[in-house]
């Protein structure tokens, strides 16, 4: 994917957080990698390795202690509109129906939603497979369906970058697999530059073009792995020899680290 123009660049990024007792924790140390245009990049690592911090740096919610994070070669100094975020929990608003939740970013930012916006939201609901659920209440939806709504909401402003922070980790195993394939379908219909944070090895291998494997405390890049699996990926991908090879390799990487 290196032949693609790069969209996001981390250059020697260090992130330290002050602790309540006055000390400091280094969450990220010497992070350097690029993400290419419409690339699907997964960040994989144990909890506490600063994965979510990476996402917040790109979103412009926090700023690095040292080094630079840039988008299209411009340093990130504030949040920008062309980014959609999907969080671990759907974080939908119970006082709106499904459609109201999808259009919420527009209502929130500009204070109004046009008929055109609603039509676009309907298209997005169709894209995520919830065409008939526009007027449902949030608590009538299953966890997987709620996360679909969250994905539609993230796509509303037609961002070129999609940030996903362990979006399927709260779902049951079956729904999780289903949602992975759904995400691949959506991504192929609406190509985006995706940063996908996960702690599931199979999920990362199935979805990503490249995987950044991280170590914990401080969070460092251990290895960047190219996933040479053919697209479109499907159930068959799961039994592909390369799939197992890569999964075992990553498991070994994380395991040796844990022993050491």
């Amino acid at each position: 994917m290196s032949e693609q123009p790069r969209v996001i660049r981390f250059a020697d990024v260090e992130q330290t957080f002050g602790r309540a007792d006055g000390g400091a924790v280094t969450a990220l140390d010497g992070i350097t990698f690029d993400i290419g245009r419409n690339e699907f990049l997964a960040v994989l690592g144990p909890s506490g390795c600063g994965k979510s911090t990476l996402l917040r740096l790109i979103a412009g919610l926090i700023f690095p202690t040292r080094g630079t994070v840039s988008i299209y070669d411009l340093a990130v100094t504030e949040p920008r509109d062309e980014i959609g975020i999907v969080f671990q929990s759907p974080t939908l608003l119970p006082w709106f129906d499904v459609l109201g939740n999808v259009t919420f970013p527009l209502r929130h930012k500009y204070g109004r939603v046009s008929a055109e916006d609603n039509a676009r939201a309907h298209d997005l609901l169709k894209l995520v497979g919830l065409a008939d659920f526009a007027r449902k209440r949030i608590d009538e939806l299953s966890g997987g369906m709620q996360q679909r709504v969250a994905i539609a909401r993230a796509l509303l402003l037609d961002p070129d970058i999609l940030l996903m922070d362990e979006p399927f980790s709260a779902l049951d195993a079956l729904t999780r697999d289903e949602m992975s394939f759904e995400l691949l379908r959506i991504w192929s219909e609406r190509p985006k530059t995706v940063l996908f944070i996960t702690h599931s090895i199979p999920e990362a291998v199935l979805l990503a073009d490249r995987i950044v494997v991280m170590t914990a405390r401080p969070g460092r890049v251990r290895e960047v792995i190219n996933v040479d699996l053919p697209r479109p990926r499907s159930m068959a991908t799961l039994s592909h020899p390369t799939f197992h090879e890569l999964a075992n390799h990553i498991r070994g990487q994380l395991f040796t680290r844990a022993v050491a």
Binding site: A59, G60, E78, P79, I85, W95, R107, G111, R137, D139
Partner: protein
């Protein structure tokens, strides 16, 4: 020791045989009313059986009779006086507490400065301060409204602050990533999220408002149910005082119920599924 075990085991079985589901549903619905009627019946019976003097504990029938001796227009006058003070104090409490909670959540400086003062006010027995307030503010509705406000406002502030702080962090990040601004963050996300918390406080405070109005009327009033009870007891008309008390309780219950209904009508999503 085996007998209680045996009986507790056979009890649900016996119920299952005796009551069909329909009957049991009715029993569930009627049980609270039946318990209330039973209690009143025991009260009545005890008063008659032991010939308790009515100035110690009047029987329910004596209370009803005393209540009927007071004309409807008199009752309405007292009820409307108490209701007016309670609702005005309640409205002021809402109008001040919710913006105050927003201010406390928005500014750490305000929170550090004002919170101790609020706690001091809440820790002061308002009943003891009430006579002073009446002296200071004179004989009008104003001191009564102020007393009611002081008794009713605190739960609304505390609950609203809790609700505003309970908003999921991710939603705040979503708002920041959209650069929507702090006003919209408050109006579109934090305040709606606080609605269930605010309604819990509103239900507590409506009954506190009635208490506040009565306390104020005890100190200084020429009308109202609090005044009526004071007046009746000072003339040893105990059954009449009890009648006033019963109406006060009914009023409080009705207002509490109204709060629940308002929540169900306007913000049903804020109720647990079972209560919609």
């Amino acid at each position: 020791m085996t007998i209680p075990v045996k009986s507790s085991r056979s009890e649900p079985k016996a119920q299952g045989i005796l009551l069909t589901p329909v009957l049991r549903a009715w029993a569930d619905r009627l049980a609270p009313a039946a318990a209330f009627v039973g209690l009143v019946a025991i009260w009545e019976g005890a008063c008659r059986l032991f010939a308790i003097p009515s100035f110690l504990l009047p029987s329910p029938s004596a209370i009803v009779q005393a209540g009927l001796e007071v004309s409807a227009s008199q009752w309405l006058g007292h009820i409307s006086a108490t209701l007016r003070v309670a609702l005005m104090g309640y409205a002021v409490a809402i109008a001040i507490s919710i913006p105050l909670a927003v201010a406390l959540v928005t500014s750490r400086f305000l929170s550090r400065t004002l919170y101790p003062i609020l706690v001091v006010v809440q820790s002061t027995p308002i009943v003891a301060v009430a006579p002073i307030i009446v002296v200071t503010l004179g004989a009008s509705d104003l001191p009564r409204v102020v007393i009611t406000f002081l008794i009713a406002f605190f739960p609304i502030v505390v609950s609203t602050v809790t609700g505003l702080m309970a908003t999921p962090e991710e939603l705040i990040e979503l708002s920041r990533s959209l650069r929507a601004g702090r006003v919209r963050e408050m109006l579109h996300i934090r305040l709606p999220f606080a609605v269930p918390y605010i309604f819990s406080a509103l239900k507590i405070s409506i009954t506190l408002s009635i208490i506040g109005a009565v306390v104020a009327e005890f100190v200084a009033a020429e009308r109202g149910l609090g005044f009526f009870i004071m007046f009746s007891t000072s003339f040893f008309k105990i059954p009449q005082a009890f009648a006033g008390l019963a109406i006060l309780v009914a009023l409080s219950l009705a207002l509490f119920r109204l709060c629940t209904l308002v929540q169900r009508w306007f913000v049903p999503w804020s109720l647990p599924k079972s209560e919609r």
